[in-house]
Homo-oligomer: 337 residues x 3
């Protein structure tokens, strides 16, 4: 698969080769994301960053990624402000908005809405999350982080022993990650969830059929003991019928420093799609882990910028021109601590 | 009229000559809007894109137009977020905001609010829509589209036979278009509306006094039969006392492929200020028209970018410097289908 | 104090020297803010303009200041749209967002929230207002304006006779200004407020201990008679228990042309942190003052851009590179009147 001028709507469209291509480009983005160099390769290009469902981190991450390539960003946030509320079809919205920019990122609360939108778009569309369905760039940055973290430990993806933890029923990031993992085989995957929130069987089948060794359980200590990567999730309370129903699951399978020291492998990596719920009744990842070198949750969001820069560069076909439009960084970078 | 450093508050300020000037500049914008070339003529300039009433398409269209000239955009969306809610006068808001940017686009829910705002502004202000009153850039892009579509058919504006269709009472785009049409004479104009939503007599008088041949009716087939341009509108439900009152008019004068084939001239052009209401009870322009070459509604929104780029260029006096600041487009443009 | 790579969280961090440094850089910003020249020194840099409480003027002022230095701006407006609502800690939000940009401006409704945020940030954070607590850039632009206005009158800061007027209890801008004034000594300061809204004693003590001559009263005419600078404020109704409670104080200590002519020194300067409440029941500064040369309220907001540009330049260490990245202004500046 070549990404140039393609939509990215679903992780199901991705092959191992295309993922390797994106990740190789993402690695080339480090000097720009770290402000060692500036590239202006997309100077004059415009991103339509269309968030018809509120989001801060994902929206800003996409916007910054485009800015770091030299492009401009036009945005919208929220559904009510939109012509969709006046009965406009997604086809029309796409036709109109695609006349304004060079590439569109779209988030929308309804499943498959981004796909529908893409049918009316005259420019490439990236799915920024379509309700409970998919969030492909999150899955990509998760896999990119897994590979990078394993590399830090001197290991390769073949040695992955991954524990998925928490609300495996509703977490779309977990589901999308399962799709990407199904491109590999022979990995060890442990699923730890309250029974009512366990991974839907279609995803279990996907992993098993890919040739992975899958263990299902609800014992935290056992589930953690062999993992070199632990992927913790939030109880997705907005997907439950009521807050009360969601609340009964909050606080299951918390991780803290004590549990980490007692039951995890040395240097085990902790990931989380964020936001982590730090309220007392949830507290999925305790703040006492914040100084653990294994806590990769912010390296994970940093990686999101790299992966999104890579996607824009591949889709717009500039992945080999980055250094040609390079400049020095004039300003002082970072905090003096 | 010369646009340099002027406000654009109302279509009433526009002469035939000034319109020709804007349209000539708009034509020069095509290569930049089509991403054949980049111009950076406004690099360093800032647009204050002040939408005190929600809007996606118009706001993004203005913003993109400014970005395509190389400028930056600062925005606001919505009234409640603003100091206006703390009792600030429009004069003060204008004084403050005009210290921040080089030109301001303002939308506001109240009639004549943008005019009031302009009195406090130290920089040019473009009316982006002031409630039920005016939306001058929409009227300009509509007229620009009429001229361009006629040209596609090998006709000139003198040969225009225009049918205005739907909610002619509330549609500010129709009213503003009538003002622009009053600068011409001898055109054929058919008005087709439910009686309660017919064009206010002042606008009828305006057209008649300009020397146009005006026909008023409520028979769809008859009203369509001679038109080379059909301008359909949405029932402006937000301008009615209640949703119920508005709903009784929805579904009047629908256009679909059958009606188009049976009653319209070959190649008749269909326009609409958008959004079109595609819900079943409204459905002003059926989706089965989407592949008709005569459906100009998305060429119309594309033209909006050209016209807005032209306005910015004329107001800021850079209309003759576009090519001097030209660069190549580095990225791959469009979709591979 | 050297600002490079530092947070700016509170006016209490500021010394006289550091203020002089900022103000000297702010003066260097005039040609760029006035569009006599363009500087692109921050081209490629990104500001995270994170307003978790709505604001138009302050948000746009910061954003424009960054754009005028050549940088890009990513924004958020409002708390509900945010992961904070899903239980994310400010530490996490800061860790994530600080991976996206080069510097962050943060506004938040809770006191000391910006300080808490800064602890998780890997890049410099500027406090854009943390509820009733602080708004340090407002205090800086106020002091900058006082100095500039006195200079216009041929006077120096030593000759300041300042009258603070109105809701001195709740106005955080007054409190922050008191902190800055405490760096000086021997000034004359008159406090005029309804007794229930008088300046908290801790701030009075601060001024007295600094060696200022402080007079407290509730007689408007007397309070105005000696001032070369009058700082009027708005009744901060959002800080009262109820609108009714706030409303009883509206309309106290109004200034209008008559009072100004009868009771103020010739050329006395009128300042206000804005927005001024121009509704009939409040009307703190009557519109009949709008043409008075002494009305400095819009010079004050203009100065805000200079001061914010200076802060960005100092924090990012580019204050001596502005002219190196200078370009001509291509466009026509201002209104043809």
């Amino acid at each position: 698969m070549n990404f140039r001028a393609q939509h990215l709507l679903s992780v199901r469209e991705l092959s191992s080769d295309s993922i390797e291509e994106i990740f190789a480009v993402a690695e080339k983005m480090r000097p720009y994301a770290n402000r060692q160099k500036v590239t202006r390769v997309l100077e004059g290009a415009v991103l339509g960053n269309m968030f018809f469902e509120p989001s801060t981190r994902t929206r800003v991450s996409f916007g910054c990624a485009f800015n770091l390539l030299g492009g401009e960003v036009r945005e919208t946030t929220g559904l009510s402000n939109s012509a969709l509320a006046k009965g406009e079809s997604l086809y029309d919205t796409a036709q109109v908005l695609s006349g304004y920019s060079d590439v569109i990122v779209m988030r929308h609360p309804q499943s498959h809405s981004v796909e529908e939108f893409s049918l009316g778009s005259r420019i490439p569309v990236i799915n920024g999350g379509d309700g409970p369905n998919e969030h492909p760039t999150q899955a990509l940055l998760d896999l990119f982080t897994i590979k990078n973290e394993l590399a830090r430990l001197g290991q390769s993806i073949d040695q992955l022993s991954l524990t998925l933890l928490g609300d495996l029923k509703h977490g779309r990031t977990v589901h999308s990650l399962c799709h990407l993992l199904s491109l590999y085989s022979g990995l060890k995957i442990q699923l730890v969830a309250p029974e009512a929130l366990s991974l839907p069987s279609s995803y279990v089948d996907l992993l098993v059929n890919a040739g992975h060794q899958v263990e299902i359980g609800s014992n935290l200590e056992k589930g953690l003991s062999q993992a070199n990567i632990i992927y913790q999730t939030r109880i997705q309370e907005e997907r439950f019928a009521s807050a009360e129903e969601a609340n009964q699951y909050k606080g299951y399978f918390r991780l803290n420093k004590q549990i980490y020291s007692d039951h995890c492998l040395p240097n085990a990596v902790i990931m989380h799609p964020l936001p982590r719920d730090s309220r007392n009744n949830a507290n999925e990842l305790d703040n006492d882990l914040n100084k653990e070198p294994g806590l990769a949750i912010f390296r994970q969001t940093d990686n999101g910028v790299l992966v999104r820069m890579a996607l824009f560069a591949c889709i717009l076909g500039v992945e080999n021109q980055l250094s040609k439009h390079e400049r020095n960084v004039n300003w002082h970078v970072g905090l003096r601590k």
